[in-house]
Every structure is written in C-alpha cells, then in structure tokens.
C-alpha cells in the first residue's frame, strides 16, 4: 500500500518535471540563441553561447536599427495593450454589474450572448470582422482598419465575453445590501459603481488584466488583419514578423526581439500570478 503510494508520487513528479521541461524548452532555446551571432546559431543551435555579452549588442542593434522600428512598435504595443485593458475591464465590469442587478429576461439573454462569444472561435469571425470594418469606413466614413481605435475596438469585443463572465460570477457574490447602504449614505448609481463595486472587484480586475495583457501583447493574427504587416502602426509581433520575412533571416535578432517582447509579460505574470489564481477561483465557484 505504502509502496504503491510512493510509486505514484514518483511517477507524478517525473511527469510534472517532464512537462515543465517541455514547456520551458522553447523559452530556453530563445534565451541561449539571443546571446549568439547568426553564424553561431546556424552552426549549433542548442549549444550554450560563447559570450553572453553578445546579448547586449543584439539588443542594442534591434533598438537602434531604423529598418526594424522596434522602439515605435513597443510604443504601439503598449498603447494598444493598456487602452484595451482599461476598456475591457471597465466596460465589462459595468455590463456585468447591470446584468447581475437587473433580473429581467433581457439581461439573461444578453448574458447568454456574451457567453456565446466565448464559444465561437476567432477564426470564424476574423474575415467578417475585416469586412465589417471596411463597411463602417464606407458608410460612416470612420477609418477602422490600420488605426489604434479600430484595433482597440476589436480587442474589447474579443476580450469582453470572458471578462463579463468572470465579473458576473463575482458580482453575484457581492451582497446587495452593500449597494443599498451606499445609496442611503448618499451615493448616486455612478458613485456606487466607482466607489463601492469597483474596489471590491480588484482581484478580478488584476486577473482579467493579466490574462488579456498576455494575449494582446503576444497576439499576431488580429493585428496582422487589422493593422497589416509592414504598415505604419506596428505592434511588436508584427515588427518581428516584418524583419523575419526579409531576404536574409537574422535569427540572432529575431531571437533577441522575441526575448525582449516576452520579458515584460513574464515579469508581469510572475508579479501577479497570485491574483490570477485568486480571481479564477472566486470567479468560477461563487
């Protein structure tokens, strides 16, 4: 009996460690190869770099090269990510709050619509979306493709279902009396939302921000459709794709750029992982 337990534990440990290594391997390859020159990578891609200082000269080259426009793409990615996150969180929280507090058939229907957004794969709607954006431009005259607001608008649409779902679950657990107490204390509806409900939702905000930040920061497909590769407004994944597609594949620079792109998100994840788990649990169980 005891032996059986021991074997199970060893087996589980082996599986976990293997999975851990498999998951980490691509990242490890990126890390070692970003400190190599192109020639070194081609000669032996899995060898450790001869000189780690090569990493810094690679970074410097990416940062300063006018053909890559890395700095501007970092700026673009940051703007799009931050504004999308704010819009997704605030609007979804507002929507979820109203959907929870107004118990009508209409609100149940709208909530189900949001949920259906979770089920439909992105690939199904990506071409209709581009067509829709083009139609908006033709009918209203508002340019949606290749603009910041078009990109952010699309992200809010794709990010809202999960966010509304999570907020909805959490808001249901907030006692209504809290809002009534605030009403008696003299709050308006808007004040109740911003002064009472929003601060209580903080763990969910953090969770949703991190989940969406990872997705938006790394996303390639949606920006490639809406912003287009090689256009004026470029996010980091687009910029990397742009110089990967040129005549010579500069593997050293690609690897370094990927590492640089991943770094802020990894740091963010490590700092906020406690909240992700907390938010996930409170969103799903309650």
């Amino acid at each position: 009996m005891r032996n059986k337990k021991k074997i199970t534990r060893i087996l589980l440990t082996v599986i976990t460690v293997t999975l851990f290594l498999v998951t980490l391997f691509p990242f490890f390859i990126v890390l070692i190869n970003s400190a190599k020159s192109s020639l070194e990578i081609i000669t032996d891609p899995i060898a450790l770099p001869r000189q780690w200082s090569q990493l810094f000269s690679n970074i410097e080259e990416i940062w300063t090269s006018p053909s890559i426009r890395y700095a501007s793409s970092v700026y673009t990615s940051s703007i799009i990510t931050i504004l999308s996150l704010i819009a997704i969180s605030v609007f979804s929280a507002m929507a979820a709050w109203v959907l929870v507090r107004r118990k009508t058939k209409m609100s149940t229907f709208i909530f189900l619509l949001f949920i259906s957004g979770l089920i439909i794969p992105f690939q199904v709607v990506m071409f209709p979306l581009v067509a829709l954006f083009r139609t908006i431009n033709q009918t209203v005259g508002l340019q949606m493709l290749r603009t910041y607001h078009g990109m952010i608008f699309a992200y809010v649409g794709f990010g809202a279902p999960l966010a509304v779902f999570m907020f909805h679950g959490f808001i249901k657990s907030i006692p209504l009396e809290l809002e009534e107490a605030a009403l008696i204390d003299g709050c308006s509806k808007t004040q109740i939302f911003f002064l009472i409900v929003m601060p209580i939702l903080k763990p969910i905000f953090v969770t949703i921000s991190i989940l969406n930040a990872i997705w938006i920061w790394n996303d390639f497909l949606l920006p490639s459709l809406i912003l287009g590769v090689g256009q004026d407004i470029q996010t980091i994944p687009l910029a990397i794709a742009a110089f990967a597609g040129s005549f010579v594949k500069k593997w050293d620079l690609i690897m370094t750029a990927v590492l640089m792109a991943a770094a802020p998100i990894i740091v963010g994840f490590i700092l906020g992982q406690k909240h992700i788990i907390k938010g996930m649990v409170s969103g799903s169980i309650k």
Binding site: P175, E177, L178, E180, A181, A182, L183, I184, D185, G186, C187, Q191, I196, P199, I200, K202
Partner: protein, 361 residues
C-alpha cells in the same frame, strides 16, 4: 427627530405578490417600534419602504410632516443597519463611518468629531484603523451602528441586526441597543422575527402576518391581551395552549364533555361579543396551568419533560392532544405519570373560531 406615519401602504411586486396590505401605522417621535412576524410577513418590506429602497405601490409615507414616497433614500434623513452589516470591505472602520459624511461634504473637523463621539459610545475607538475583515461579528455590528449614528438621522432603521450574532452576544447587544436608544433619543424602527427581542426592546410592537398588521401595542398588552389567535400563538415561548370549546346557554364554557364556569369579566365579554353556541378557541399560557388534585383538575398523562434550569416544561396529553405547562424545576414528574391540571380562570383567552378575533379585548 421625527414621527413616521404609514398611511394605507400597499406593496405589490411585479409578479403579483401582495407583500404588504393596507398597513396603517403611526410611529411616534423617539419611539422604539419593533416589527415582528414570521418570515415573509412583510415586515422587512415595510421597513425597506420607509427607507426608500422599495417603491410604494399605493398609500403615503410620511417622515416628520413630509410625504416621502418619491424622496430618494439619502434625502429621507434616515440611517439603516442591515442584517449582514453591509460594511464596505475595502474601507477602514473610520472610512466606513465617514463615507456618508464625506459624500454630503461635511467639514473634515466635524467628521472627525462625530466619529470620535460615536466610537466612544460604541466602544470601538481602538478599531478605527482596521478593515471590516479584521473584526469579529459583534465588532462589525458596532461599526454598522456607528456608521448610522454619525449621520445623526431622524429615524434609525434596523433589519434583524442581531440575527448573525451568537446567543450570548445577542443578549449583550440587545441591552446596548436599548441603552443607545435612550442616549440618542431618536426614533428606532426595528425588524425581527425573534419574539424575545421584540418583547425586551420595543416600546411598542407591531405584529404582522401575511402582509397585514395583526396588533400594535406595548409588549405587556401584546402578551397579556392578544387581539387574535395569530398574535396569541406567535408571542410567548412555549406557545399558548389552545382548546376548542363552546359557550352554552348558561354562559358556561364547554370543552369536550367538561363544563367550566367563566369569570364575571369573561362572561360579560362573551355576552357582548359571542352568539350563543358559537364555536370558540380557548387559549391559556403554559404558566397559567398548574398541577392540582383529582377533584379540581382535568386528568392528563405526562408525555415528556424539559428541564430549563429555572423551570420545567411539562408536555401532557388530554384526549390524544398534546399541551404544555410550566412547572417548578424541583418537580419530579416523569413520562407516563398521571396528573390533574388546573387552569387559572382569570387568565383564559377566548377567540372566535371563525374570525380568530379575541372576544375579550
């Protein structure tokens, strides 16, 4: 300080449920009014209508001399204490208490002063910097009271504020609320389903059932002179005993095959209000029954006894029906014993069987 007048108030929910039916009630200035009744009797709905949290379907609500039907809760000059305290979890105790005052743009120095006074009254001065999470149930309840006190409301509304506390703390807080009412000299309206709370705290009690006010009176009257069967059965623990009976031509009371002489007062009341041979329900409280001799009492069999420390609850059976009486704790009765129970004739309650109304009061 203000009176509250509830004038023919009705509440009908969109699904058709008639929660409050024609409630008409005057609550005097500085009074401690307790709404009591079973779950779903409309007491909380009435309170919420006073607070403005629930729309009034018909009727008028006055606070002071002003109709407040369409006045928003914040402008009614009331404060409410909720069952689950409803403290803002992200704010410290101080901020919880200051929140309403900040919104009404009260000067900082005054906020500080009012909070210090309230904290002193409630003995929560050392807790001001803590978050609600770090407080015990009793402390949270005090903070909720503090949040109400600092607003200096004309009317305090309390919705079962003690029901989340353990028994010992509840008794302690009960006494403190009575003290607080004396200190603040404000109108208190208190909702509870606990009759002990109602009896001990209220200067008047409003007993409700099915959305209808059954009786409004001081605790003593509610207990000694219940207006109908519902009030008689709801107030008092253990419950009042009921027997079916009839008044015969000689104005004597007949229960089963036994005849009892009624006291003069009761005979007068019965003569006035009851037709001959009307079916009655006779009520008697457990403490108004005693054990007697074979020649003065009715034979009964002891079913079960409950020792409460100071007294003994004796459950006995007469003609296959179970009743209860209170006896001295020293009494050695046990299951299966035959006893002879004697009813105190001065303490009988008579109710019309059809309407349930009292024939005496």
């Amino acid at each position: 300080m203000a009176k509250v007048r509830i004038s023919n108030i009705n509440k009908i929910y969109p699904n058709g449920f008639h929660a409050v039916k024609d409630v008409d009630l005057n609550i005097e200035d500085k009074e401690f009014m307790v709404f009591v009744g079973p779950s779903g009797c409309g007491k909380t709905t009435t309170l919420r209508m006073i607070a403005g949290l629930e729309d009034i379907t018909s009727g008028d609500m006055y606070i002071g001399d002003k109709i407040v039907n369409d006045v928003s809760p914040k402008d009614r000059n009331i404060a409410m204490v909720f069952q689950n305290y409803a403290l803002y979890p992200h704010m410290s105790v101080y901020d919880n208490m200051a929140f309403g005052l900040k919104l009404s743009k009260t000067p900082k120095s005054e906020i500080e002063e009012r909070i210090q006074i309230a904290a002193k009254i409630l003995d929560i001065e050392p807790l001001l910097k803590r978050k609600p999470k770090q407080l015990s149930g009793g402390q949270r309840q005090r903070v909720a009271l503090g949040r109400a006190i600092v607003r200096k409301p004309e009317v305090f509304l309390m919705d079962e504020p003690l029901s989340n506390l353990d028994a010992k703390l509840r008794i302690q807080m009960r006494a403190e609320l009575i003290k607080l009412h004396k200190e603040l000299e404000t109108t208190f309206i208190y909702v509870t389903h606990d009759q002990t709370e109602a009896m001990t705290m209220g200067s008047r009690i409003c007993v409700m059932n099915d959305g209808i006010v059954q009786q409004v009176a001081d605790p003593r009257t509610i207990y000694n002179a219940p207006a109908n069967l519902f009030v008689a059965s709801f107030i008092g623990a253990p419950q009042m005993n009921f027997f079916d009976g009839v008044v015969n031509d000689d104005h004597d009371l007949v229960i089963g095959n036994q005849t009892f002489k009624l006291t003069e007062t009761l005979t007068d009341a019965v003569k006035k209000k009851a037709k001959k041979n009307t079916s009655l329900v006779v009520g008697i409280r457990p403490e108004d029954i005693r054990c007697g001799d074979a020649n003065e009492g009715v034979a009964a069999i002891v079913e079960m006894t409950e020792l409460l420390g100071s007294d003994l609850n004796v459950y006995f059976k007469i003609a296959e029906k179970q009743y209860i009486m209170k006896a001295e704790a020293s009494n050695q009765m046990k299951m299966g014993d035959q006893i002879f129970v004697v009813f105190n004739p001065d303490r009988l309650h008579l109710f019309d069987k059809e309407t349930g109304e009292s024939l005496i009061y």
